[in-house]
Amino acid sequence: MARKILRINMTELKATYEEMPEKWARWGGRGMTSAITFDEVDPTCHPLGPNNKLVIAPGWVSGSPAAPSSGRTSFGGKSPLTGTIKEANSGGLSSQKLAKMGIGAIILEGTPKNGDWHMIYINKDGVDFLPANDLMGKGMHEVDKILWERFPNKPAVIGIGQAGEMKLSNAGISVNDPENNPGRYAGRGGMGAVLGARGVKAIVVDDKGVNAIEIVDEELFKAGRRKLTDSIQAHDLTKRDGALNSYGTDVLMNIINEAGGLPTRNFSAGQFEGAAKISGEMIAEMVEKRGGGMTGHACHPGCIIQCSNIYPDEDGSIIASPIEYETAFALGANCGIDDLDYVAKMTYECNDIGLDTIESGNTVAIAMEGGLLEFGDKVGALKLFDEVRQGTPMGRIFGQGVEATAKAFGVHRVPTVKGQSMPAYEPRAIKGIGFTYATSTMGADHTSGYTIAPEIAGVGGKVDQLTDKGKADLSLTFQAATAFIDSTGYCLFIAFPILDIPEGWAGMAETVAGVTGMKITGEDVIPLGKEILKMERLFNERAGFNEQDDRLPEFMRYEVLPPHNVVWDTSDEELDKVYAWVHDGSN
């Protein structure tokens, strides 16, 4: 039986299961959220107004038996932070539970009458709109605890903290992990504000008593799953006891620092003298020394990569989970802070109040450059989060992210593209990532352009591998591959083995074909990914974006970045080649 659409209207307080329309039937995850947003959201709408929608979709293979690392949920709509289309995705419990309930997408629309707030409970018997009075003003740690006590089947909790209640543009959407910690975030782009604009504090998904997962071709699915699992377990980046499993994503801190590409003190340098103290190796040392917390943690059931962590305090109690590389860069190096305990405390604040850690850390850095604090003032930085929680004027500015805060403090060195601030790779030193930041439909985004080996992508031999020639073609291919993987429900990190190992790549496509019945192989991945990118690009154009928005910030063109003393010097013409095909009929 095909998955259904669950349309929830918050003006009428009505929930309806609809047959999946043919036009959306072949999509999942990001493909689904972008297709629905493209069809149903006016690109010129105000992102906080009544005509935006929040679309929530599991991926194609989410919930399928033993599909490894397949627990991602996509959240889409028009972003309050960027004004573009947005897909933010998270791990946690929601994806598999939505899929088991046979839900292909939730479309949350309308605005509440009288400013009422609700909590939505979804189970096999239907959808309940429950008052949320006792949850309002509470952080997600407390909300998750209350809701697991109220609904004892360990459901998924999708929710917003105070930031989303206030509809701040840096509000993220929290999903609980298997330990009911609110640390898995659809963080980027302010989609928490879109949930808040619907008057919804939390959505509880309780799949007890239902499993609507259907595999159209069991043999094909199993064959594909075997190849994919084997490649994940064999590849250096994802195997058990590899660095990702041992040190988490923060394994990149020392590498990127040694390379001179670690954004430091508001993107003013590429190396940070305190990098080792906030690295994945240091997290491992603290876990070992303090006797609490863990590394090698799974953010969702069935993950075989297990790169997350739980960070302990001196007495072994938990401060926060997880500390990712992006979080440690933004709240650490970019603020000149080298104290992992404070990075963890600020992570807790972000998870509780409901803020994206990347945008938050970069915003603290802007406030430091603007003179509110000194770089390195970890105590002052931590206190800023309470301003957001309390909804003070300073907190409301801070909760809007980098660009608004930069305006408030007269800062011109603003590391954003399309309104979203840059993640943990300096584009002046790592020039390839600059292409992704500039051209991605999502704003400055490091997860949009995962690399695929040329022989798999079918561009081998056509591209000069290490020169500038063909970078635009490569960037498009990488972005298309990523858009496809974002639709599967698989964690993006499966991309590491499958983008290197042809059998893993084929296996991934076979699992999708096996579950859905779609006739796709590895060769269909890039074309399908491009279809998704085209919808997103056209939405953005209709929202008012053009190639002038595919640019890196001005200061990066003239300010040299130590230690390599480089500027961003890629031509606009090169950048414009990435998406020229949307209108010129090429490629």
């Binding site: 590849h235 250096d236 980046l237 006891d241 590899g242 660095a243 990702l244 041992s246 040190y247 394994v251 990149l252 020392n254 590498i255 990127i256 040694e258 390379a259 001179g260 590409g261 590429g270 190396q271 080792a276 690295s279 190796e281 240091m282 491992a284 040392e285 070992e288 790779y425 030193a429 790592i430 020039k431 390839g432 990532i433 600059g434 992704t436 490091h446 352009g449 995962y450 690399t451 695929i452 080996a453 040329p454 022989e455 081998g460 591209v463 591998q465 290490l466 490569l474 990488f478 590491f496 083995p497 983008l499 290197d500 230690p563 390599h564």
Partner: protein
């Protein structure tokens, strides 16, 4: 005549420098030493390393062993990562690298997450 090199060791190799996961030590070598001499002094097996940097310039990636003949100079900083470290291609695409590494990657095929040297 000697030169002093600051060496940062990451992962299992940190034990060679007295650390658990990270160690930073100063090593004295004869003038005109190369990376292979540093490895010999530290007792590092080249097959146990992954990413190697000399003054922030990428000099080696796992599986290629392209850095052994790189010259070292007084005051250089060398970062050596143990086997098992990860650095996906899209997060190093366009980074400064040594000529010998560029040559080795062009011979093998650069756009991968991991490498195996051709026989």
């Amino acid at each position: 005549m000697t030169i002093t090199i600051e060496v940062a060791l990451y992962g299992r190799l940190a034990q060679l420098g007295g650390g658990k996961h990270i160690a930073t030590i100063n090593i004295e070598l004869p003038r005109n030493s190369r990376m292979k001499d540093l490895f010999e002094q530290l007792k590092v097996n080249p097959t146990e390393t992954s990413y190697i940097f000399i003054n922030a310039v990428l000099s080696d990636v796992p599986g290629l062993n392209a850095s052994q003949e790189e010259e070292l100079h007084d005051g250089d900083h060398v970062g050596i990562f143990s086997l098992g470290y990860m650095w996906p291609y899209q997060y190093r695409h366009g980074m400064p690298m040594t000529k010998s590494l560029e040559k080795a990657m062009n011979e093998f095929g650069a756009i991968h997450h991991t490498y195996k040297k051709k026989a």
